[in-house]
């Protein structure tokens, strides 16, 4: 029996973690309150991590905890206790870039798998063999690795390969960028990245400004979308496909995870039945992602050296094409009434689209809208308000609603 790929999603809090798993992630990576790089993500306490692991176990999923900070001495207080707690919580593995943290983990919490973070910028098979010797069982490849190179690497190494399939891209080699630190005193390698690569710059040759009048010299990268390259990665046999974005919203996670999960399922279905994968309509998936994605997308290094198409040049697009308006809490089949939690403003008679882990996109119009006490209302304007709406098809808890 073939090993199926792991779809690995990010989560900034417990709610997002649950959504990621329910929408199809086989594993979720989270940051703890210490040793993690996303200082502004709502990181998990040990209690949260325990709950996350219990939930994941119940759903056959795994939890990895990021500990990929480049530590200074003062950052290492409490390391052993923390690792022990993670092991006790039944975390599957930790994602690290520090050889010291990895070594301590191997000694005090040997049940934790050690995954090498992309912060280490690994782009070749010999480096992976070295990390294998150092006890790493999985390597998160640098985002500078092309598909062709990933294929060659896979043929030569034993360690599992994890590849970023979607999300934000550092324009520098990860771990090798000190722009934020030098420009703002916020150390990207300790969780403080100010995204200085996305700022506006002028480029000079001595005293002569090179960038044309009215345009800045931008160095930032568009985000990564791996829809077109997903099947090749599955053919290669990478162990895990990673979605970036522990700071992203619940809706984004649900949409992106669901999209890749559906694509992965289609791949196995088609391959198992010897059906040509060309029959899969990739455009549909691009459109789906576009409903939650608010940044311009590119293919990163998948096809080799990036072109102008992968760079951000004075173009910013921050508005998603569809708006997330609520999440289903319950559905009464007898009355066709759904109980939902409001997430964005909407009105009676708005056209909406429901979707869920098992629910295909289904459009309808809101014809009946009530508050929690079944008082008819015309507008849903209060965030997190509990509402009732009539929906003529079956819904499940955690299905979502977006305006169209």
């Amino acid at each position: 029996m073939r090993n199926k790929v792991e779809l690995l999603a990010p989560a900034g809090d417990l709610e997002k973690l649950k959504i990621a798993i329910i929408y199809g992630a086989n594993a979720v990576y989270i940051g703890g309150k210490k040793f993690s790089l996303r200082a502004r993500a709502s990181n998990f306490t040990i209690e949260n991590i325990r709950e996350a692991c219990a939930f994941a176990k119940e759903h056959g999923a795994k939890i990895y905890v990021t500990m990929n900070i480049i530590p200074h001495d003062e950052d290492l207080d409490g390391l052993e206790d923390y690792l022990l707690e993670l092991e006790k919580a039944q975390v599957t593995g930790i994602i690290v870039s520090s050889l010291y943290i990895a070594k301590v983990a191997q000694i005090v919490a040997p049940k934790l798998e050690c995954h090498l973070s992309t912060q280490a910028s690994v782009t070749n098979s010999l480096a992976i063999k070295e990390y294998e010797k150092l006890g790493f069982t999985r390597v998160v490849l640098a985002r500078e690795t092309s598909l062709e190179q990933i294929k060659k690497i896979k043929e030569k190494v034993n360690a599992e390969l994890e590849v970023f399939i979607h999300g934000g891209l550092c324009v520098s080699y990860s771990g090798r960028c000190m722009l934020s630190n030098h420009l703002t005193n916020r150390d990207a390698n300790r969780g403080g990245c100010a995204h200085s690569c996305r700022w506006n710059y002028d480029l000079y040759d001595r005293d002569n400004k090179i960038n044309p009048e009215g345009f800045y010299f931008n160095i930032g990268s568009k985000d990564l979308v791996g829809i077109r390259h997903l099947f090749s990665l599955l053919d290669i046999g990478v162990a895990s496909l990673k979605i970036e974005g522990r700071m992203k919203s619940l809706y984004y996670i649900a949409t992106v995870v669901r999209c890749y999960k559906q694509l992965i399922d289609k791949y196995y279905e088609y391959v198992d039945n010897s059906v040509d994968l060309k029959g899969i309509d990739l455009e549909y998936f691009y459109k789906e992602i576009g409903k939650a994605e608010n940044r311009l997308m590119s293919i990163g290094f998948f096809d080799g050296a990036p072109t102008c198409n992968e760079q951000l040049y004075n173009i910013r697009s921050e508005t998603p094409t569809k708006e997330f308006i609520g999440i289903v809490l319950d559905y009464d089949e007898k009355t066709n009434i759904a109980t939902i939690e409001q997430r964005n403003y909407f009105e009676l008679n708005d056209k909406v689209e429901f979707f869920g882990p098992t629910l295909e996109n289904t459009e309808t119009t809101i014809t009946e809208l009530y508050d929690e006490n079944f008082t008819p209302i015309e507008v849903a304007r209060h965030p997190l308000q509990i509402l009732k709406i009539k929906v003529p098809f079956e819904l499940k808890k955690y299905d979502m609603i977006r305006k169209i």
């Binding site: 502004r40 480049i70 001495d73 090798r176 000190m178 150390d187 000079y204 090179i210 010299f217 160095i219």
Partner: protein
Amino acid sequence: MAKIYVDLKREANLSEYKCDGFIINSSEFSCYNGETFSLEEALELKELVKKENKIVILNIDMIISEDDLEALLEYLDKTYKEFDYFIYSDMAIRYYFEEKNIVNKLIYNPQTLVASSSELTRYYESGINVLLANELSYEEIEKICDMCGSYINLEVYGYHQMFYSKRKLISLYDKFFSLNKDLHDKELSLKEELRNEFYPIYESNKGTFIYTDYIYCLFDELLKIVDKVNFIKINGVFIEENDYCKVVSLYNRLLNERENVSILYEELKRINSNLSKGFLLNKSILLKVNENEK
């Protein structure tokens, strides 16, 4: 006494340099953006350095892609016996040297990744020398000296690399806006819209590199820890050969004539006044998580 290692410049008169060793920056496998040397040149220069009875170090610190591996191995086969030390940042090189059982020839310089005594010790246990991260405060450096119980190695002078991208960011921009300027392999500068500093930026065939707008200078503080320092590196990138040679002499005098620190520092400033202590007195921030943050 701490040794002084310097970048070898093409016009350098080796005997004039008051240093203990020369770093030959490989054209093929270093991401140094000053004078670099082909394999043939490096092997010839090595002989010249040896004649001066100095240590000879080959810098091959680029991040290696899978496509570069074959050429790298061929290169290492031709060089591993020839040089005293090798500066590297990619673990493929460590793998190679471990196979040859000569890791003591290695100096790990990942620029950013070794920032604690614990991390440093992890490399020392394997017999590998390390250059500490450049963004450490003096307090941290001092603490590392105390805690690791061994010698440390520091880059003490020069423009610090603060960004290393595999992307050819300048050529791509040039192409996108059809500027048709020849900006590859050229020292340019970058200015952020709200700031006044000009950061050197350089695109080579290894990618795009951005440097500090100042010359980092660890000078008087060096004397307080010098007994715990194995070697110092004086970075020659973007510094004229003549000035560079003078800077090296001043560091040599600092280590030998300790009483004249302030005079020496004034001389150093006269060569180039754009000196800064970088993070030495200005610790970078680890953004602790606010418990109430959503």
